[in-house]
């Protein structure tokens, strides 16, 4: 028995993707913007979404997956409301970044980076240089909020702030 799956991407998402097509000489170039648009709405990019992006851009689902999988940025299962990157690269490491990553995970009850808090509010990931070394050791929320220089106490304030959910920064 087979059923036709209902489309995963609604018309709003599709319209946003189509709006990018005129910007580039090829439709395939819209792959990355499309992945970002889907990820922003669904907090993940499942296989069905890749197939639907492929259909809009007139390429194969495998091409979308090939690009998507290279970046390691787009999870296939939903992440928390806010994604929080804690930097572990040189300047942050020197000023205590690795410890701050551990502390952040511990305070949220996570066993390591890549996990989501049980209330679904925050996913913590390690990051290679976030380009905010003037705040080292630093962390970045995926709505653009920057935290740093972190200390154990400041991690508490950061977690409380992140748990308020995504916030506009401008």
């Amino acid at each position: 028995m087979s059923t036709v799956a209902a489309p995963l991407l609604n018309e709003g998402i599709r319209a946003k993707i189509r709006a990018y097509i005129g910007r580039y000489p090829s439709k395939k170039a819209v792959t990355l913007p499309a992945l970002h648009i889907v990820h922003e709405s669904l907090r993940c990019v499942p296989f069905q979404a890749m197939a639907e992006i492929a259909e809009i851009l007139e390429i194969t689902p495998a091409e979308v997956h090939d690009t998507m999988s290279f970046y390691g940025f787009f999870p296939q299962a939903p992440i928390g409301d806010v994604r929080l990157w804690v930097c572990r690269s040189l300047s942050c490491m020197l000023t205590g970044g690795e410890e701050m990553l551990e502390v952040t995970c511990a305070k949220l009850g996570l066993h390591g980076s890549g996990q989501t808090s049980s209330d679904g509010k925050v996913t913590v990931e390690f990051a290679e240089c976030l380009g905010i070394c003037d705040f080292a050791p630093a962390a970045l929320a995926d709505d653009g909020r920057i935290y740093g220089p972190l200390t154990e106490e400041k991690v508490n304030a950061m977690i409380a702030d992140v748990k308020r959910g995504p916030q506009p920064i401008l």
């Binding site: 300047s91 380009g131 705040f135």
Partner: protein
């Protein structure tokens, strides 16, 4: 020499510096108007050539020369702006875009006019979220004012700028990796030639310039090549945004003439090494460039002088200070982990080499180091990158240089670490020794009995019954 007057950062402390009215009130878009209405494209290219502006992204390639590589008979040109700033410890482009996006847009307008590009793709790394939002607003403002779009300043020149967001891949800062990523593919650098100027994005002649490079352009148009060359050191002219972070009292980004010494940057602008300590080593321009030892701190940070103590180059001029309480092993481990994580996997020497360096550094750090590891690391780094000619892009050279410089400058410390950090859990096993010797003995390969019989049906597929 006259007192240095910052230009790239002159608006940073002005309120609302990211908005068009403030930028215009400070003389903004006058250089673009001048270039488009009073100069011709070749005139701008020649002016930039005369200024000897070198690319600020890392390689230091002369900008005007790059522009002149475009084929004369081209029908269409594209510009890519590299704002995928991901080199560890580097954040000057972020501040440039957040604080003064219109300066960059003006630079793009002039650069595109000079190269006859009608579309510009501004490739911004995803993590620069605020910069992305500010740029989108600034582009809308500029378009509404007629600085972008059709017939800019009545010159007949048309231009659109599109912001394209990356997705967390360091390699997309390599210019052909960026182009592949822009085209919707994995960010695998291309074999050159053809160079982007001949066949770049979407098979069209393409110029790829760094954010800071383009931010210099309006000032050169406004003040002239001689003004630009009045700053800096021979072959390294103009102002530069230096980042300073790590073990300093003040982590910051500061604009200075090219060629300031590392010591002055740390003592004056970084306000000294933190906690009253001394610097053991300094990473001069992002981790790819290698490192300076404490007695090399008087090296001027410009494109040429930095090579004398064996560094790869000026890179991004992002200085990271490592204090005398920190082990060089920790630094090397951090660098090795970064490059193993960010190697794109296309070229075998880089994919395997960075992973091998990382594994070895991890073992040394944990207490399983062996003296011969240093020899092996030396061999790996010597065979890695475009310098020996084994890889397509320079990522691997960046992975090799920290090892190369550390072995040359800190070998006694590395040897001492290995001697004093031995953990029996990481000791060499008899089997490993036997394999290394090339003659496995019976004793070494005898399987350890675990007192359990093999589970029956272990090889049977769950679907076969």
């Amino acid at each position: 020499m006259a007192a240095f007057e910052p230009v790239l950062s002159r608006n940073w402390n002005v309120a609302q510096s990211h908005t068009l009215p403030v930028y215009e009130s400070r003389g903004g878009y006058q250089a673009a108007r001048k270039a488009l209405t009073q100069m011709d494209p070749d005139g701008v290219v020649n002016l930039i050539k005369d200024s000897e502006l070198r690319g600020r992204g890392g390689a230091g390639f002369p900008c005007g020369l790059k522009w002149s590589f475009l084929p004369k008979d081209r029908k269409e040109t594209l510009m890519c702006i590299n704002a995928d700033e991901s080199e560890p410890a580097t954040f000057n482009n972020r501040i440039l875009m957040e604080k003064d996006p219109h300066q960059l847009i003006e630079g793009i307008i002039i650069g595109c006019f000079a190269t006859k590009a009608t579309a510009a793709y501004l490739y911004v790394r995803f993590e620069y979220i605020k910069a992305y939002q500010i740029l989108e607003r600034a582009i809308d403002e500029a378009r509404a004012k007629g600085y972008l779009g059709k017939n800019i300043f009545g010159s007949g020149f048309d231009l659109e700028i599109w912001v394209h967001r990356g997705a967390g891949a360091y390699i997309c800062g390599e210019e052909t990796g960026l182009i592949e990523s822009l085209e919707g593919k994995r960010g695998w650098p291309r074999i050159k030639p053809p160079f982007p100027a001949v066949e770049g994005a979407f098979k069209k002649p393409t110029v790829v310039n760094n954010v800071e490079t383009l931010a210099c352009v309006p000032h050169i148009v406004e003040r002239g090549a001689d003004w630009f060359k009045s700053m800096g050191t021979p072959k390294s002219y103009g102002p530069k945004l230096y980042c300073i972070s790590g073990h300093v009292n003040k982590q910051t980004c500061v604009e200075l003439p090219l060629g300031i010494t590392c010591r002055e940057l740390i003592e004056v602008h970084g306000q000294g090494v933190w906690k009253g300590r001394k610097a053991k080593a300094v990473v001069p321009g992002g981790i790819s460039m290698g490192l300076l030892s404490a007695d090399e701190l008087d090296t001027p940070l410009d494109f040429e002088a930095i090579r004398k103590p064996g560094c790869l180059g000026l890179g991004t001029a992002a200085v990271t200070v490592i204090d005398d309480q920190t082990s060089i092993v920790d630094y090397l481990y951090n660098c090795a982990r970064f490059f193993a994580h960010e190697s794109c996997g296309q070229c075998t020497p880089c994919r395997e080499g960075t992973a091998w360096i990382y594994k070895t550094m991890k073992r040394i750090k944990l207490g399983g180091g062996r003296m011969e590891d240093l020899t092996v690391l030396g061999g790996i780094q010597a065979n890695l990158g475009i310098t020996p000619g084994t890889t397509i892009c320079g990522l691997a050279d960046g992975a090799a240089w920290p090892i190369k410089n550390a072995l040359a400058k800190f070998r006694p410390e590395l040897e001492e670490y290995i001697k004093t950090h031995q953990d029996p859990r990481y000791a060499v096993t008899p089997l490993q020794t036997a394999i290394t010797m090339g003659s496995p003995t019976t004793a070494a390969v005898t399987p350890v009995s675990i007192g359990m019989s093999s589970p029956t049906g272990a090889l049977r597929s769950p679907h076969s019954s």
